[in-house]
Structures are given as C-alpha cells and as structure tokens.
Symmetry: C2
Subunit: 358 residues, 2 copies
C-alpha cells in the first residue's frame, strides 16, 4: 500500500505546487482522491498509469479539488488506456458536474463510469454555500452515454456522528465522515480487512501436515483431520490475524471533530494544513486548519502517522528570502511541535509506503 | 500587437506541451483565445498578467480548448487581480458550462462577467455531435451571481458564407467564421481600424503651422486656416492612412474554406496542423488538418504569415529517436514546402510580434 501525492497546493494550481490530488495504490489498483485542474499532467510525470485508476473519490466540490476530473477521464479514454469501469464518489452535485461538462464538450469515453453521491446532512450547507450555489444539484437526470446507473448515499449515524457507507465489498472498505468547511466536505476512511496470520510450519509438521491444499481449507475455517486422527483448526497452526491498515484522507476542514469516533487509531491520517499557526483566525474563517489544529486532532484520535498537505501557495521556497515568511518546512516544524515526530509533509510526486501492521 | 502561445498541444495537456490557449496583447489589454486545462499555470510561467485579461474567446467546446476557463476565472478572483468586467465569447452552451461549473463549485468571483454565445448554423451539428451531446445547450437560465446579461449572436451571411459579429466598438473589430469539425467550431477574425498616417512636419511648416492642438483638429477632419489665410486639410499635411492589421485565429478544422471570403489578405493566420501529411485520412476523419491542407488554404487567402499550432502529442523531441517518426520541426518543414518561408511553428510560451503595416 502506497500513497503518491500528485498535487499539494491550496486554492489553485501553480507551476511550483499542483492542485489537490493523491493516489492510493493497493493490490494493483489505483484509487484517486481529489482531482484538481492539471492532475492528469501530474500523473504523466509520475510512474503511475492513469488507466489503472478504477475509483475516484472527491472530498468536496471546490474547483481546486475537482476541475481536473473530466479532462482526466477524456485523456484516459483517448489514449485507450482502460476498458474496465470507473466508480466515482463525491458529494451530491458531482453527477451533474460530470454530465454537463462531458456532455457539452461532446466527450466520448471508451469505458463505463458510475457516480455514487453522498447526500450531505442539512447542517453541512452553510449560508455561504447557498449564496454561491444558486442552481439545483441534481436536476440533470439524463446520464452521459458512457454512464451506468449510480446511487445516492444518505448518512447513517454512529456515536452521534454521521457517516456514509461507500464500499462494503473487497479487502478495502470505505466510509466517509463529515468535516466542517464553507461547503459540504468529507473525509474518507479506508479500512483494510484483517490480514490472516501466517502458517506456522513447525505447528503444521507437528500434526503431520504440510503446506498445500489443506492450508486453504484451514484458512476457510474448515476443521481437517491429521494423519494420526487429530482434528486440527486454523488457530492450531496459524499465527493470530493481523489488524488491517486504516488510512484516512480528509478534504478541506476547519473542524474535523465529527470524524473522531470513526477514525480512532488510524495508521495514516492525511489532513490539510493550509496556513501557519499565527494565521489561525484567517484559516478558520476560510474553512481551513493550521498545524496546531491538525496535530491536536491527530493526537486525539491516536494517529500513528500524520501527513500534512494542501499548503497555501504563499509558501514557496523563495518566500524563505523574506525574514518573516514561512515555508512548508516551517509548517511541518509547527506540526511536529504539537504532534511529535511521526509527522511528514506531503509534496508533489512524493510517495509514502504504508507497511503492513505487525 | 503580440501573440503569446500558452499551449500548443492537441487533445490533452502533457508535461511537454500544454492544451490550447494563446493571448493577444494590444494596447495594454490581453485577449485570450481558448483556455484548455492548465492554462492558468502556463500564464503564471509567462510574463503576462492574468488580471489584465478582459476578453476570452473559445473556438469550440472540446475539453482541450475550454476545461481551464472556470479555474482561470476563480484564480484571477482569488488573487484579487481584477475588478473590471470580463467578456467571454464562444459557441452556444458556454454559458451553461460556466453557470454549472462555477455554481456547483460554489465559486465566488470579485469581478463581473458576461457570455456572448454564437448560435451555430444547423449544418455545423454533425451526427457525432448529437450522439455525444445528449443534454440541452441553453436550459440553465439562472445566471451566476457575478454574471451580467449576455447575448446570443446569430449568423449573418456574406458572399455565401455565415459570419457572427462579436465586437463592433473600439480599435479592434471581431467577427467569427465557420469551420468544419466534429462539433461546431469557429475561427475568429480580428481587424484593426485604419491607422491614421503620420504628420509630415515639412508640409506643416510649409503652411506656417507647427505640431500642437491644430493637428488634432486636422486629424478630426476639420479644415484649418494657415497664418497666411490658406485653408489646410488633413490630406495636405498627413501621409496616407495605414491599413490596420488583420489576425485570424482558428479552432479545430478539417476544412476552413468557409472562411475564405472573410479572411483575404490576412496578416497573421493561426491555424491548427495536428498531423503530418501522410496521415491526412486520419486527420480529416478526426476533424483536423495536415501541413499541406493548412498551407494550401493560407496561400489561397493570401496570408502574409502563417503560424501552425495544435500539434498531436505524438510529436515530441524524443520521438526523433525513432527513424520513421516526426517532430514539430518536420510539420513546419512540410508546411513550408507548400506555403513558402513565411510560416512559423508555435510553441508553448513563444511570442510573435505583429508589426504595424507600412
């Protein structure tokens, strides 16, 4: 399991820092999280193959997180990189966005896609949101000709917080939780199934068994009989199951506390850190977080590793020249002051390996 | 007057060649033509100031020519670069595209904009177009909150070809003409007014006049009386008016002949040249041109200078390694073989100066 950041800048893409996007690689599949303008070009600069992307998740509908999605789909199609379907997850409105942009641009796609929309809870719509979104979010009911029927997912409740169930099949389960931002924004919680423990060869041999088809039976929970007539179960010859990895990837947020019951003991927590600690007032006003805000929450949920991203475009290396200005290295330093060492700063095209738990 | 190419690649942006966009600079104003994904990042790499853009023209609604427009508007606004209005011209459907993308992304803009849409003639809608655009083009009637009332422009006819009148005021007049492509596509014709001739100082002096307010009167067509009582007119003391410059910027096209009556004697003719001569069949099938097709038409309309652009992403410098593969330099060579020397190849961030006529 690996995460590769394609863009780590806030608000808009720049030649120094692209707009938000990252890719989770797992078992030969690529899952993309956010797709700001220019993401397809960043992908071309990376070793990742765009045609391997089978799921795209959009945290919220701000342009710097989704204006690249239609172009990415067109390019994957034009270069004949894919024939399998693509599932696209995001807030209500995403299906309309795709139907209108792909439809008006008369875009052909050589693969099928479907859109799974999360219906925000009413409190996620701020006044600001309603002022700026003066059109309905779901009135385009004619699907794109390459689009299969998708679905709308309503929130469920657990421990007093809402969550949206997105993927229940396969080795990685995905839910989303609520964040506080100027518009509905979500954090995605990716949970790997328990990984079966290893076969203990000496235990197997002590029953007179050896590796082979019998192991598959044992793994499937079947009790087998040893050559000496002893019933043998999985727990007799295998080490304990290993807890699966848990990764959380958040959208823009000035308050992630609604995630707390859902993300305890997360292995890797990816969270925005847009502005430095001294700019907290402006950060919160704009729906963003500072290093301290991010670190305090990551500590609260006992995150093993914190990766900060979504840095204001004001933080360039050249800003270092001005004595009072910050760089991303300073944001990381501020985060470590609160969180400790298990914290890293993302960067465009930087990959983090997420090792199996022991 | 200058043209700066921001992106010169066909179909999609790549790290080597960005998607279609160019900027015409004239009298302190910047006019953008096409705005593919990533155009805002290309602008940041250029010396041009995005906030000076007061008009944007879109040749056709394919994604590689317009997917960057909403992001560009957002970034100009976010960085407080502009307060004056922006006029946006393009095919019917562009207003809906902007309303839906800006609306769903809840984008605030700190300046006003308006959209002037060209209504294509019925023959410009191909079967391919209708199959791929399965939604209405103008059913979003609620304007964005930063949008002023625009207009729809129908075609007029002249010499048997349609044209659309877009700008009739100011020193540069703009019309559009019809191209043949898979979807409605336009070429923009920019015509500078006659430039008044220069005052001939020796002639002025021969009448006993000198430079000053009297010159403005003469320029305005007023007859003045010399100190010796002789009536003096503009033509007595000024050289002849200089013909204004004429620049034509075309969208994607496999047949530009409908432009012919409108673009005779053009000074600078910018036209796509997507694929090499030997790939003419594929080029035409996809609605594109080869060097020979472009050059023959440019000769037919007596273009003084031809600039080719919109090169297939297959033409990279590294493709030079394969013996049978072409580069953009080869496309230029093929164009010159038909057109002669007055031809150049565009490149990302390359600027061409268009001198005043003599």
């Amino acid at each position: 399991m690996e995460i590769t950041f394609l863009g780590t800048g806030s608000a808009y893409p720049s030649p120094k820092r692209a707009a938000s996007s990252l890719v989770l690689r797992y078992s030969g599949e690529l899952w993309m999280f956010d797709c700001g303008e220019g993401t397809q070009t960043q992908l071309m600069k990376s070793p990742l193959k765009a045609g391997k992307i089978n799921r795209i998740f959009i945290t919220h509908l701000h342009g710097d997180h989704m204006y690249g999605i239609s172009g990415l789909l067109c390019t994957i199609s034009q270069s004949n990189q894919r024939d399998g379907p693509v599932s696209i997850y995001g807030p209500l409105g995403l299906a309309k966005y795709l139907r209108v942009t792909l439809g008006l641009s008369r875009s052909d796609l050589c693969f099928r896609f479907r859109v799974i929309e999360m219906v925000p809870t009413p409190d996620m719509y701020t006044e600001d949101n309603d002022r700026l979104c003066n059109i309905p979010e779901d009135d385009v009911t004619i699907r794109h000709h390459a689009e299969d029927e998708g679905m709308k997912v309503d929130a469920q409740m657990r421990d007093g917080v809402p969550y949206w169930t997105l993927i229940e099949e396969g080795p990685l389960k995905v839910r989303a939780g609520k964040l506080e931002h100027r518009i509905p924004s979500f954090g995605f919680i990716i949970e790997e199934d328990l990984v079966p423990g290893k076969f203990l060869v000496d235990k197997l041999e002590s029953f007179g068994l050896s590796r082979g088809p019998v192991c598959q039976q044992l793994m499937n929970g079947i009790t087998v009989t040893s050559p000496t007539g002893v019933p043998v179960t999985k727990s007799d010859v295998m080490g304990p199951d290993i807890p699966g990895r848990k990764v959380v990837i958040c959208g823009d947020s000035s308050n992630s506390s609604y995630l707390a019951p859902l993300v305890q003991n997360v292995d890797v927590f990816v969270h925005e850190t847009t502005l430095q600690n001294s700019m907290e007032e402006m950060a919160v006003e704009r729906g963003h977080s500072t290093p301290q805000m991010t670190a305090e929450f990551a500590k609260q949920v006992n995150a093993k590793m914190l990766i900060i991203t979504h840095f204001s475009q004001r933080y360039t290396e050249s800003s270092k020249k001005a004595e009072d200005s910050y760089t991303v290295a300073d944001l990381l330093k501020e985060t470590r002051e609160s969180f400790g060492e298990g914290c890293e700063a993302a960067d465009d095209l930087k990959t983090f390996v997420i090792k199996t738990n022991k």
